[in-house]
């Protein structure tokens, strides 16, 4: 079973305690956006085979949203971090770089 540590309450939570929220760091298209940008925002997803940045909701715990970096092939978790960021923090990227030199920057 997948386990993620909630960066807010610090609990190492089973996936049954969590709810997946899909890809993280998607920029919301505003009212001035084109149709293509809106389609991209609403539907188009990275869906990588490898390192994935994703949203999780600690729904049966503290109730907060957070982000995780996880490998979609091995289920390896590189770290969890605050949802209040526009991109993954440097220490998460460094951890991915350390464990997956080829996948960094993605």
């Amino acid at each position: 079973m997948l386990m993620l540590t909630c960066p807010y309450c610090g609990i190492a939570a089973d996936e049954t305690e969590l709810h997946g929220g899909g890809e993280a760091h998607i920029t919301r298209a505003g009212v001035e956006a084109s149709d293509a940008e809106f389609e991209e925002y609403l539907f188009t997803r990275a869906n990588p085979k490898g390192v994935h940045f994703e949203k999780w909701h600690h729904s049966r715990g503290c109730g907060r949203w957070f982000h995780a970096a996880r490998c979609t092939v091995t289920m390896e978790v590189f770290g969890t971090y605050s949802a209040q960021t526009l991109q993954p923090p440097d220490e998460i990227l460094a951890e991915i770089e350390r464990r997956r030199p080829a996948a960094s920057g993605k």
Binding site: E15, H19, D35, R45, N47, E54, T72
Partner: protein, 418 residues
Amino acid sequence: MKRRGRYSAFALVREAMRGHTGWQKAWESPLPSRKYDVVIIGAGGHGLATAYFLGKNHQVRNVAVLEKGWLGGGNTGRNTTIIRSNYLQDASAAIYEKARQLYESMSQDLNYNVMFSPRGVMMLAQTHHEARGYQRINNANIVQGVSTEYISPDQVRKLCPIISIDGPRYPVLGALWQSRGGTARHDAVAWAYARACSQMGMHIVEQCEVNAIRTRNGRVVGVDTGKGSIDCDKLAIVVAGHSGVAAEMAGFRLPIESVALQALVSEPIKPCLDIVVMANTVHGYISQSDKGELVIGGGADQYNNYSQRGSFHNVEETVRALVETFPIISRLQMLRQWGGIVDMTGDRSPIISKTPVEHVYINCGWGTGGFKSIPGSGWAMAELVASDQPGILAAPFGLERFGEGRFIDESVAAGVAH
């Protein structure tokens, strides 16, 4: 091209008399040529059906089907083999019903016993909301010409005596019954198409992973594979869970996320269930194989996954719910569990479409409903590839529907368990 013998009762007797020495390989395994008119990535059911109908309906026979693993080793061999076409939306009903009809005659058409068994598919209504939903689908099916009926709990009990109608948590209020739905032997479907394609002179190349897609001026010119570089006029991507990976090679992105969907089988028992039962409220569906095993499928996992395993708690929830509806299975031991990587779109309907790259076509997004649609999908995809225009079956399933907001919304229509 060597002509293979037809399978028949006579051939069986003949081979029995001579110690089964005369059977030939069902399909050739050639090395790829330098160039083909059409290259299809993915030798699962959908890819092979696409190749078959390119040859049969459109006389395009200079075709290669490239497979990174072994033939039919992906989702084609990992599903619960259910075939039905009782969908709400007209576009879905059309293509799934086409597929179901082609399954009816597949063994004869392909001279290969795919063991299609139209035993009937029953979708239980276990909440009032679900009962109304299925009555609505039944009404839609009548208009679409798809033969289904909405049946009472008494009829459910007659068709399926082992079911617990009054179950404490989710009593059976009725069911949507498609008597002409059923199951087929999943591997045989891939093998049958492969044999037919091979007989038409097409090349099926296994263990040949595509590493790059080459384009020039926005148009495809070929692929680089583990077995060398191959040129092609047209390229069809039919790789289900790995569609995102293939699309990235071609330089575009898709409205798709890949997740694991699990199934499991019990130890074999005496015949007790001669139909397929789906209980979508509790995320479980069940049928009994010819060997006597109960084949059980559940809902999809909640997060992106390429591991072909899935989470244990999903299996646990599925079995827990089914034990309530089928109390006699409570002491059964489970033999095997496996996962397939399904490609989910936002509206839970497939994509059969041209792409931003000229002469690259994609067939994906079948999600949890891939096996049942194989022949219809191949039929529609072949038409698209051969004429560079979608036919009547494929037209509603273009990629542009997301931008246009023109969804084929089956996530609402069919619940989670397709």
